[in-house]
Protein backbone atom coordinates (compact mmCIF):
# COMPACT_ATOMS: atom_id res chain seq x y z
CA UNK A 1 0.00 0.00 0.00
CA UNK A 2 1.23 3.54 -0.75
CA UNK A 3 2.44 5.43 1.07
CA UNK A 4 4.70 2.75 2.48
CA UNK A 5 5.37 2.60 6.24
CA UNK A 6 8.84 4.07 5.58
CA UNK A 7 7.31 6.98 3.66
CA UNK A 8 4.94 7.68 6.54
CA UNK A 9 7.86 7.66 8.98
CA UNK A 10 9.63 10.19 6.76
CA UNK A 11 6.58 12.44 7.02
CA UNK A 12 6.69 12.20 10.80
CA UNK A 13 10.39 13.01 10.78
CA UNK A 14 9.76 16.07 8.62
CA UNK A 15 7.11 17.50 10.97
CA UNK A 16 9.20 16.83 14.04
CA UNK A 17 12.25 18.49 12.53
CA UNK A 18 10.57 21.40 10.70
CA UNK A 19 7.56 22.24 12.85
CA UNK A 20 8.08 21.00 16.40
CA UNK A 21 11.82 21.19 17.11
CA UNK A 22 12.13 24.92 16.35
CA UNK A 23 9.33 25.62 18.82
CA UNK A 24 10.97 23.77 21.68
CA UNK A 25 12.71 25.95 24.22
CA UNK A 26 14.37 23.81 26.88
CA UNK A 27 17.50 21.67 26.34
CA UNK A 28 15.65 18.67 27.79
CA UNK A 29 12.75 18.97 25.33
CA UNK A 30 15.23 19.31 22.45
CA UNK A 31 17.07 16.24 23.62
CA UNK A 32 13.87 14.18 23.73
CA UNK A 33 12.92 15.39 20.24
CA UNK A 34 16.37 14.24 19.08
CA UNK A 35 15.69 10.84 20.65
CA UNK A 36 12.40 10.65 18.78
CA UNK A 37 14.13 11.45 15.50
CA UNK A 38 16.63 8.66 16.17
CA UNK A 39 13.80 6.24 16.97
CA UNK A 40 11.93 7.13 13.77
CA UNK A 41 15.03 6.68 11.62
CA UNK A 42 15.76 3.37 13.32
CA UNK A 43 12.17 2.30 12.74
CA UNK A 44 12.49 3.15 9.05
CA UNK A 45 15.63 1.02 8.79
CA UNK A 46 13.87 -1.85 10.53
CA UNK A 47 10.88 -1.61 8.20
CA UNK A 48 13.02 -1.78 5.10
CA UNK A 49 15.96 -3.99 6.09
CA UNK A 50 15.24 -6.10 9.17
CA UNK A 51 13.63 -9.04 7.37
CA UNK A 52 16.47 -9.52 4.89
CA UNK A 53 19.09 -9.14 7.61
CA UNK A 54 17.33 -11.72 9.79
CA UNK A 55 17.29 -14.23 6.91
CA UNK A 56 21.02 -13.57 6.44
CA UNK A 57 21.76 -13.97 10.14
CA UNK A 58 19.90 -17.26 10.38
CA UNK A 59 21.89 -18.60 7.43
CA UNK A 60 25.07 -17.44 9.17
CA UNK A 61 24.08 -19.18 12.41
CA UNK A 62 23.34 -22.39 10.50
CA UNK A 63 26.85 -22.16 9.07
CA UNK A 64 28.33 -21.98 12.58
CA UNK A 65 26.29 -24.97 13.70
CA UNK A 66 27.39 -26.85 10.59
CA UNK A 67 31.02 -26.14 11.46
CA UNK A 68 30.38 -27.28 15.04
CA UNK A 69 28.79 -30.52 13.80
CA UNK A 70 31.82 -31.15 11.58
CA UNK A 71 34.16 -30.49 14.54
CA UNK A 72 32.16 -32.92 16.67
CA UNK A 73 32.63 -35.66 14.12
CA UNK A 74 36.40 -35.07 14.15
CA UNK A 75 37.13 -36.47 17.62
CA UNK A 76 39.32 -34.89 20.32
CA UNK A 77 38.51 -32.70 23.33
CA UNK A 78 36.22 -30.38 21.37
CA UNK A 79 34.16 -33.26 20.00
CA UNK A 80 33.78 -34.58 23.54
CA UNK A 81 32.66 -31.18 24.84
CA UNK A 82 30.08 -30.84 22.11
CA UNK A 83 28.69 -34.33 22.56
CA UNK A 84 25.55 -33.22 24.40
CA UNK A 85 24.91 -30.01 22.47
CA UNK A 86 21.94 -29.76 20.09
CA UNK A 87 23.54 -28.75 16.79
CA UNK A 88 20.44 -29.07 14.63
CA UNK A 89 20.81 -26.41 11.96
CA UNK A 90 17.34 -26.90 10.46
CA UNK A 91 16.15 -25.85 7.03
CA UNK A 92 15.61 -22.30 5.88
CA UNK A 93 12.04 -21.64 4.70
CA UNK A 94 11.68 -20.01 1.32
CA UNK A 95 9.19 -17.32 2.48
CA UNK A 96 9.40 -17.17 6.26
CA UNK A 97 6.95 -15.00 8.19
CA UNK A 98 8.59 -12.46 10.55
CA UNK A 99 7.53 -14.40 13.64
CA UNK A 100 8.93 -17.64 12.19
CA UNK A 101 12.23 -15.91 11.53
CA UNK A 102 12.33 -14.55 15.07
CA UNK A 103 11.56 -17.93 16.65
CA UNK A 104 14.12 -19.66 14.46
CA UNK A 105 16.69 -16.97 15.27
CA UNK A 106 16.19 -17.47 19.01
CA UNK A 107 16.60 -21.25 18.59
CA UNK A 108 19.75 -20.91 16.48
CA UNK A 109 21.32 -18.30 18.76
CA UNK A 110 20.59 -20.48 21.78
CA UNK A 111 22.36 -23.37 20.05
CA UNK A 112 25.41 -21.20 19.27
CA UNK A 113 25.44 -19.98 22.88
CA UNK A 114 25.49 -23.62 23.98
CA UNK A 115 28.46 -24.30 21.68
CA UNK A 116 30.38 -21.35 23.19
CA UNK A 117 29.63 -22.50 26.71
CA UNK A 118 30.70 -26.07 25.92
CA UNK A 119 34.16 -25.07 24.71
CA UNK A 120 36.93 -27.05 26.43
CA UNK A 121 39.37 -25.16 28.66
CA UNK A 122 42.32 -26.33 26.60
CA UNK A 123 41.83 -25.54 22.94
CA UNK A 124 43.44 -27.56 20.16
CA UNK A 125 43.60 -26.47 16.53
CA UNK A 126 40.07 -27.70 15.79
CA UNK A 127 38.71 -25.71 18.72
CA UNK A 128 40.57 -22.57 17.60
CA UNK A 129 39.13 -23.00 14.09
CA UNK A 130 35.59 -23.27 15.42
CA UNK A 131 36.16 -20.31 17.75
CA UNK A 132 37.19 -18.22 14.75
CA UNK A 133 33.99 -19.32 12.97
CA UNK A 134 31.96 -18.10 15.92
CA UNK A 135 33.82 -14.80 16.09
CA UNK A 136 33.34 -14.38 12.34
CA UNK A 137 29.58 -14.68 12.83
CA UNK A 138 29.75 -12.19 15.72
CA UNK A 139 31.68 -9.67 13.61
CA UNK A 140 29.16 -9.99 10.76
CA UNK A 141 26.24 -9.74 13.18
CA UNK A 142 27.75 -6.62 14.75
CA UNK A 143 27.75 -5.10 11.25
CA UNK A 144 24.18 -6.22 10.56
CA UNK A 145 22.93 -4.74 13.85
CA UNK A 146 24.94 -1.62 13.11
CA UNK A 147 23.05 -1.12 9.85
CA UNK A 148 19.81 -0.87 11.84
CA UNK A 149 21.11 1.00 14.87
CA UNK A 150 23.95 3.29 13.79
CA UNK A 151 21.59 5.61 11.94
CA UNK A 152 21.95 9.33 11.45
CA UNK A 153 18.76 11.11 12.46
CA UNK A 154 20.08 14.35 10.90
Amino acid sequence: MRPTPAEIVEGLEYNLRADLLPELETPWAKRIAGNMLWALEHLKQRLTEEHALAVEENADLRGVLGAAAKARSGGGALAESLAGVDLTAGEAKEWPAPEELTAENARLRTAVDAVVEAFPAERDAAAEDLWREILGYIARQTERDGALIEVDPG
Binding site: T26, P27, W28, K30, R31, I32, N35, M36, W38, A39, H42, N105, A106, R109, T110, V112, D113, V116, E117, F119, E128, W131, R132, I134, L135, Y137, I138, A139, Q141, T142, D145, G146, I149, E150
Partner: protein
Amino acid sequence: MEPDTIERLPEILREYLSERLPEVRNVSIHNVARSPGGNSRSMWFFDADWDGDAPVSKQLMFRANESTCFRDEEASLEKEYRIFRALRDTPVPVPANYWYERDPSWAGEDFVIRQRVEGDTNFRDLPAESQLAILNHFVEILAAQHNLDWEALGLSFLGAPKDGPECARMVVERWERATQRELLEPQPVMTATMAWLKRNLPTEVDRIVLGQGQVGPGQVLFRDDRVVASLDWESGFIGDPMSDLAYLDFMVRPMVGDEAMEGLITRYGELSGLPIRRDNMRFYTVFQSYWAVSACLAAVNRFATGEMRKTQTLVLGMAAPRSFLRRMERIVREDAA
Protein backbone atom coordinates in the same frame (compact mmCIF):
# COMPACT_ATOMS: atom_id res chain seq x y z
CA MET B 1 8.85 9.97 37.49
CA GLU B 2 5.17 10.37 36.84
CA PRO B 3 4.03 13.53 34.97
CA ASP B 4 2.01 14.82 37.92
CA THR B 5 5.05 14.47 40.22
CA ILE B 6 7.15 16.42 37.73
CA GLU B 7 4.49 19.12 37.61
CA ARG B 8 4.39 19.35 41.40
CA LEU B 9 8.17 19.19 41.83
CA PRO B 10 8.69 22.85 42.91
CA GLU B 11 6.11 22.42 45.66
CA ILE B 12 7.51 19.03 46.68
CA LEU B 13 10.99 20.55 46.96
CA ARG B 14 9.73 23.51 48.98
CA GLU B 15 7.94 21.26 51.45
CA TYR B 16 10.86 18.88 51.65
CA LEU B 17 13.46 21.55 52.39
CA SER B 18 11.10 23.21 54.91
CA GLU B 19 10.83 19.90 56.76
CA ARG B 20 14.54 19.14 56.56
CA LEU B 21 15.51 22.63 57.71
CA PRO B 22 13.08 23.36 60.56
CA GLU B 23 15.22 26.21 61.85
CA VAL B 24 14.79 28.32 58.69
CA ARG B 25 11.82 30.31 57.32
CA ASN B 26 10.40 31.28 53.94
CA VAL B 27 11.86 28.51 51.82
CA SER B 28 11.27 29.29 48.17
CA ILE B 29 12.17 27.33 45.05
CA HIS B 30 13.00 28.86 41.65
CA ASN B 31 14.27 27.92 38.22
CA VAL B 32 13.39 24.23 38.35
CA ALA B 33 14.71 22.77 35.08
CA ARG B 34 15.30 19.27 33.83
CA SER B 35 18.99 18.59 33.30
CA PRO B 36 19.69 17.50 29.74
CA GLY B 37 22.93 15.83 30.86
CA GLY B 38 23.48 12.32 32.08
CA ASN B 39 22.04 9.17 30.60
CA SER B 40 21.20 7.05 33.57
CA ARG B 41 19.22 8.96 36.20
CA SER B 42 16.76 11.84 35.93
CA MET B 43 18.00 15.12 37.37
CA TRP B 44 16.52 18.55 37.92
CA PHE B 45 18.41 21.74 38.70
CA PHE B 46 16.82 24.26 41.03
CA ASP B 47 17.59 27.28 43.16
CA ALA B 48 16.46 27.49 46.77
CA ASP B 49 16.28 30.56 49.02
CA TRP B 50 15.45 30.77 52.70
CA ASP B 51 15.82 33.03 55.70
CA GLY B 52 17.84 31.96 58.68
CA ASP B 53 20.30 34.02 60.65
CA ALA B 54 20.83 35.62 57.24
CA PRO B 55 19.22 35.13 53.81
CA VAL B 56 20.59 32.05 52.05
CA SER B 57 20.59 31.17 48.33
CA LYS B 58 21.65 27.72 47.16
CA GLN B 59 22.05 26.12 43.78
CA LEU B 60 20.91 22.54 44.15
CA MET B 61 20.12 19.39 42.23
CA PHE B 62 17.40 16.79 42.64
CA ARG B 63 18.54 13.36 41.45
CA ALA B 64 15.81 10.73 41.21
CA ASN B 65 16.40 7.02 41.60
CA GLU B 66 14.55 6.35 38.35
CA SER B 67 17.21 4.95 36.06
CA THR B 68 17.13 4.08 32.40
CA CYS B 69 19.79 1.42 32.73
CA PHE B 70 20.94 0.63 36.25
CA ARG B 71 19.34 -1.74 38.73
CA ASP B 72 19.79 -1.29 42.46
CA GLU B 73 21.63 -4.63 42.71
CA GLU B 74 24.56 -3.17 40.79
CA ALA B 75 24.33 0.61 41.05
CA SER B 76 21.85 2.11 43.47
CA LEU B 77 21.35 5.76 44.23
CA GLU B 78 21.92 5.00 47.90
CA LYS B 79 25.28 3.42 47.14
CA GLU B 80 26.29 6.49 45.15
CA TYR B 81 25.14 8.79 47.96
CA ARG B 82 27.21 6.89 50.51
CA ILE B 83 30.31 7.08 48.31
CA PHE B 84 29.84 10.82 47.80
CA ARG B 85 29.53 11.31 51.55
CA ALA B 86 32.65 9.25 52.19
CA LEU B 87 34.64 11.25 49.65
CA ARG B 88 34.00 14.61 51.28
CA ASP B 89 37.25 16.01 52.68
CA THR B 90 39.38 13.80 50.45
CA PRO B 91 41.47 14.95 47.45
CA VAL B 92 38.64 13.78 45.16
CA PRO B 93 36.44 16.85 44.58
CA VAL B 94 32.77 15.95 44.87
CA PRO B 95 29.59 17.99 45.26
CA ALA B 96 28.08 18.01 48.74
CA ASN B 97 25.28 15.47 49.03
CA TYR B 98 22.82 16.76 51.60
CA TRP B 99 19.99 14.24 51.82
CA TYR B 100 19.09 10.78 50.61
CA GLU B 101 15.35 10.24 50.88
CA ARG B 102 13.74 6.79 50.92
CA ASP B 103 10.17 7.81 51.76
CA PRO B 104 8.14 7.38 48.54
CA SER B 105 5.41 9.72 49.79
CA TRP B 106 7.51 12.68 48.62
CA ALA B 107 8.15 11.94 44.97
CA GLY B 108 7.13 8.32 44.47
CA GLU B 109 10.70 7.05 44.62
CA ASP B 110 14.06 7.56 46.31
CA PHE B 111 15.97 10.74 45.57
CA VAL B 112 19.01 12.76 46.57
CA ILE B 113 19.39 16.50 47.06
CA ARG B 114 22.86 17.58 46.11
CA GLN B 115 24.91 20.71 45.66
CA ARG B 116 25.02 21.96 42.08
CA VAL B 117 28.59 22.82 41.18
CA GLU B 118 29.24 25.35 38.42
CA GLY B 119 31.23 23.83 35.62
CA ASP B 120 31.21 22.37 32.12
CA THR B 121 31.09 18.79 30.88
CA ASN B 122 31.61 19.33 27.16
CA PHE B 123 35.20 18.15 26.92
CA ARG B 124 35.20 17.15 23.26
CA ASP B 125 34.88 20.70 21.90
CA LEU B 126 37.69 22.20 23.99
CA PRO B 127 41.02 23.26 22.47
CA ALA B 128 43.73 20.60 22.77
CA GLU B 129 45.74 22.48 25.41
CA SER B 130 42.67 22.80 27.66
CA GLN B 131 41.88 19.12 27.22
CA LEU B 132 45.38 18.17 28.24
CA ALA B 133 45.41 20.53 31.23
CA ILE B 134 42.14 19.05 32.50
CA LEU B 135 43.36 15.50 31.94
CA ASN B 136 46.60 16.19 33.78
CA HIS B 137 44.62 17.45 36.73
CA PHE B 138 42.27 14.50 36.47
CA VAL B 139 45.18 12.04 36.54
CA GLU B 140 46.37 13.65 39.79
CA ILE B 141 42.91 13.13 41.25
CA LEU B 142 42.71 9.54 39.99
CA ALA B 143 46.10 8.72 41.51
CA ALA B 144 44.99 10.27 44.82
CA GLN B 145 41.72 8.33 44.65
CA HIS B 146 43.64 5.10 44.15
CA ASN B 147 45.68 5.92 47.27
CA LEU B 148 42.67 6.45 49.52
CA ASP B 149 42.20 4.20 52.53
CA TRP B 150 38.74 2.98 51.53
CA GLU B 151 38.33 0.87 54.63
CA ALA B 152 38.91 3.89 56.86
CA LEU B 153 36.40 5.83 54.74
CA GLY B 154 33.75 3.21 55.49
CA LEU B 155 33.51 1.92 51.92
CA SER B 156 33.90 -1.79 52.60
CA PHE B 157 30.14 -2.10 52.04
CA LEU B 158 30.92 -1.96 48.31
CA GLY B 159 32.22 -5.50 48.57
CA ALA B 160 35.95 -5.93 48.93
CA PRO B 161 37.82 -8.67 47.08
CA LYS B 162 40.02 -10.68 49.41
CA ASP B 163 42.96 -10.78 46.99
CA GLY B 164 44.13 -9.84 43.51
CA PRO B 165 42.57 -12.74 41.59
CA GLU B 166 39.21 -12.08 43.22
CA CYS B 167 39.11 -8.47 41.89
CA ALA B 168 38.30 -9.48 38.34
CA ARG B 169 36.38 -12.61 39.26
CA MET B 170 33.94 -10.66 41.44
CA VAL B 171 33.04 -8.06 38.85
CA VAL B 172 32.80 -10.62 36.06
CA GLU B 173 30.42 -12.78 38.07
CA ARG B 174 28.34 -9.75 39.09
CA TRP B 175 27.85 -8.57 35.51
CA GLU B 176 27.32 -12.04 34.11
CA ARG B 177 24.38 -12.37 36.52
CA ALA B 178 23.10 -8.93 35.50
CA THR B 179 23.32 -9.84 31.81
CA GLN B 180 21.46 -13.10 32.29
CA ARG B 181 18.77 -11.27 34.24
CA GLU B 182 18.20 -8.64 31.54
CA LEU B 183 18.51 -10.58 28.30
CA LEU B 184 15.27 -10.85 26.35
CA GLU B 185 16.82 -12.84 23.53
CA PRO B 186 20.04 -14.88 23.25
CA GLN B 187 23.11 -12.75 22.47
CA PRO B 188 26.08 -14.90 21.37
CA VAL B 189 28.30 -11.79 21.37
CA MET B 190 27.79 -11.48 25.13
CA THR B 191 28.27 -15.21 25.69
CA ALA B 192 31.49 -15.26 23.66
CA THR B 193 32.83 -12.15 25.39
CA MET B 194 32.07 -13.65 28.79
CA ALA B 195 33.99 -16.78 27.73
CA TRP B 196 36.93 -14.53 26.74
CA LEU B 197 36.79 -12.67 30.06
CA LYS B 198 36.83 -15.91 32.05
CA ARG B 199 39.84 -17.15 30.08
CA ASN B 200 41.76 -13.92 30.60
CA LEU B 201 41.11 -13.05 34.26
CA PRO B 202 44.05 -11.03 35.63
CA THR B 203 45.57 -12.32 38.83
CA GLU B 204 48.26 -9.73 39.60
CA VAL B 205 46.86 -6.66 41.34
CA ASP B 206 49.33 -4.35 43.06
CA ARG B 207 46.83 -2.53 45.24
CA ILE B 208 43.12 -3.01 45.84
CA VAL B 209 41.60 0.45 45.51
CA LEU B 210 38.41 2.48 45.34
CA GLY B 211 37.51 2.58 41.65
CA GLN B 212 34.91 4.77 40.01
CA GLY B 213 33.92 2.51 37.12
CA GLN B 214 33.25 5.24 34.58
CA VAL B 215 35.98 7.86 34.80
CA GLY B 216 37.26 10.95 33.06
CA PRO B 217 35.55 13.28 30.58
CA GLY B 218 31.79 13.03 30.81
CA GLN B 219 32.05 12.12 34.49
CA VAL B 220 33.69 15.34 35.69
CA LEU B 221 32.86 19.03 35.78
CA PHE B 222 35.67 21.39 34.88
CA ARG B 223 36.23 25.13 35.04
CA ASP B 224 39.27 27.18 33.97
CA ASP B 225 41.04 24.00 32.85
CA ARG B 226 40.71 22.38 36.27
CA VAL B 227 38.46 19.56 37.45
CA VAL B 228 36.03 21.00 39.98
CA ALA B 229 33.83 17.97 40.65
CA SER B 230 33.90 14.25 40.06
CA LEU B 231 30.38 13.01 39.27
CA ASP B 232 28.62 9.69 38.73
CA TRP B 233 29.82 7.34 41.43
CA GLU B 234 27.00 4.85 40.98
CA SER B 235 29.41 2.33 39.43
CA GLY B 236 31.97 2.71 42.24
CA PHE B 237 33.71 -0.49 43.31
CA ILE B 238 36.63 -1.87 45.27
CA GLY B 239 39.13 -3.59 43.00
CA ASP B 240 41.90 -3.30 40.44
CA PRO B 241 43.04 0.27 39.67
CA MET B 242 43.79 -0.75 36.09
CA SER B 243 40.04 -0.89 35.53
CA ASP B 244 39.69 2.89 35.86
CA LEU B 245 42.84 3.48 33.86
CA ALA B 246 41.55 1.26 31.04
CA TYR B 247 38.29 3.21 30.94
CA LEU B 248 40.16 6.51 30.84
CA ASP B 249 42.42 5.18 28.08
CA PHE B 250 39.70 4.01 25.76
CA MET B 251 37.58 7.13 26.22
CA VAL B 252 40.42 9.63 25.92
CA ARG B 253 43.01 8.14 23.53
CA PRO B 254 40.86 8.74 20.41
CA MET B 255 40.59 12.42 21.37
CA VAL B 256 44.14 13.27 22.46
CA GLY B 257 46.24 10.77 20.51
CA ASP B 258 48.76 8.10 21.52
CA GLU B 259 51.61 10.36 22.66
CA ALA B 260 49.49 12.45 25.02
CA MET B 261 47.70 9.35 26.36
CA GLU B 262 50.97 7.55 27.07
CA GLY B 263 52.19 10.67 28.88
CA LEU B 264 49.09 10.64 31.06
CA ILE B 265 49.53 6.96 31.85
CA THR B 266 53.18 7.48 32.80
CA ARG B 267 52.22 10.39 35.03
CA TYR B 268 49.48 8.34 36.68
CA GLY B 269 52.04 5.62 37.40
CA GLU B 270 54.45 8.11 38.99
CA LEU B 271 51.78 9.78 41.10
CA SER B 272 50.01 6.63 42.23
CA GLY B 273 53.17 4.61 42.80
CA LEU B 274 51.56 1.75 40.89
CA PRO B 275 53.09 -0.19 38.00
CA ILE B 276 51.05 -0.05 34.80
CA ARG B 277 49.82 -3.54 34.01
CA ARG B 278 48.94 -3.53 30.32
CA ASP B 279 47.43 -7.02 30.34
CA ASN B 280 45.08 -5.97 33.11
CA MET B 281 44.19 -2.83 31.15
CA ARG B 282 43.41 -4.93 28.09
CA PHE B 283 41.19 -7.22 30.17
CA TYR B 284 39.36 -4.25 31.68
CA THR B 285 38.92 -2.60 28.29
CA VAL B 286 36.88 -5.64 27.31
CA PHE B 287 35.22 -5.93 30.71
CA GLN B 288 34.23 -2.24 30.87
CA SER B 289 32.71 -2.61 27.41
CA TYR B 290 30.87 -5.75 28.50
CA TRP B 291 29.37 -4.09 31.55
CA ALA B 292 28.39 -0.96 29.59
CA VAL B 293 26.55 -3.16 27.08
CA SER B 294 25.08 -5.18 29.93
CA ALA B 295 23.78 -2.04 31.68
CA CYS B 296 22.23 -0.96 28.40
CA LEU B 297 20.49 -4.34 28.14
CA ALA B 298 18.55 -3.33 31.25
CA ALA B 299 17.35 -0.26 29.33
CA VAL B 300 16.24 -2.46 26.43
CA ASN B 301 14.48 -4.72 28.91
CA ARG B 302 12.73 -1.78 30.61
CA PHE B 303 11.57 -0.37 27.29
CA ALA B 304 10.46 -3.64 25.72
CA THR B 305 8.58 -4.90 28.77
CA GLY B 306 6.85 -1.57 29.36
CA GLU B 307 8.59 -0.88 32.66
CA MET B 308 9.92 2.41 31.23
CA ARG B 309 8.64 3.06 27.73
CA LYS B 310 10.43 6.34 27.09
CA THR B 311 12.62 7.26 24.14
CA GLN B 312 15.57 8.14 26.39
CA THR B 313 15.49 4.52 27.60
CA LEU B 314 15.26 3.21 24.04
CA VAL B 315 18.14 5.31 22.73
CA LEU B 316 20.36 4.50 25.70
CA GLY B 317 19.57 0.82 25.38
CA MET B 318 20.13 0.52 21.65
CA ALA B 319 22.36 3.30 20.35
CA ALA B 320 24.64 4.05 23.32
CA PRO B 321 26.31 0.63 23.62
CA ARG B 322 27.37 0.41 19.97
CA SER B 323 30.90 1.78 20.40
CA PHE B 324 31.43 -0.46 23.44
CA LEU B 325 30.12 -3.45 21.56
CA ARG B 326 32.39 -2.83 18.59
CA ARG B 327 35.45 -2.41 20.83
CA MET B 328 34.65 -5.57 22.77
CA GLU B 329 34.08 -7.58 19.60
CA ARG B 330 37.29 -6.27 18.00
CA ILE B 331 39.57 -7.17 20.91
CA VAL B 332 38.08 -10.62 21.39
CA ARG B 333 38.49 -11.27 17.65
CA GLU B 334 42.07 -9.93 17.59
CA ASP B 335 43.04 -12.46 20.22
CA ALA B 336 41.82 -15.32 18.06
CA ALA B 337 43.55 -14.10 14.89
